[in-house]
Symmetry: C2
Subunit: 108 residues, 2 copies
Amino acid sequence: MKTTFGEYIRQLRTDKGFTLTELAALLKLDSANLSKIETGKREFDEKRLERLANAFNLDIEELKTEYFADQFAKKIYQYNCSTETLIVAEEKVNYLKSRNVKQDEIKF
Amino acid sequence: MKTTFGEYIRQLRTDKGFTLTELAALLKLDSANLSKIETGKREFDEKRLERLANAFNLDIEELKTEYFADQFAKKIYQYNCSTETLIVAEEKVNYLKSRNVKQDEIKF
DNA sequence: GTAATTTTGTCATTGATTGACAAGTATAAA
DNA sequence: TTTATACTTGTCAATCAATGACAAAATTAC
């Protein structure tokens, strides 16, 4: 899945034959704003991921992957970050996880 | 470099023997707020990356890598994102780049 | 002790995001 | 070409989060 998150939503929506108004109602937002989201002029709000998953019977974890990957990609593209950035990010995730394990150990 | 961005700044600062007040002045922020940044209670503002690079004679690209990797890692950790997320992000970066190349081709 | 440094708490200001709605364009069917 | 439906764009007030600023507490070094 190489599309942006907006294109991804549009794909899902049109595949199911929904109009903007119909999907917007399910997501509790304005159809005009959903249009902007699909065309990349606004961001999709993380709070609505679950409603989106329900609307299309999607696995919430897959959706989260698409959503956050999209955010990271946009930042990297926008700021012209080095290719290393994502590798370093992974190291830092592991660091945060290991650090928290240690904190837990201390706590109890 | 597996530390958080805050820990990284603190490392740089103490290595050079700067006080919070001294570095804060170079970065044009309050020493109390720099303390919060170093201890992870606030975020470092992207606008100040260049000043930080100057303060310690660092390569701005390396600094950007640290900075954005830190942001991504925190999000992934916070939202418990799948390990795939960063891989998908890389694909999306490539997608955005290729898409823009195409746009350029159309434009001119 | 006290002086310097660092941390924590608070809050008004600022800035960005969002919801909402109006007005526009595009598409399709009669 | 009219009408209906779907989509897009522009705008702006309201809302929310991030920031700067400063006071005061805690920690560290002398």
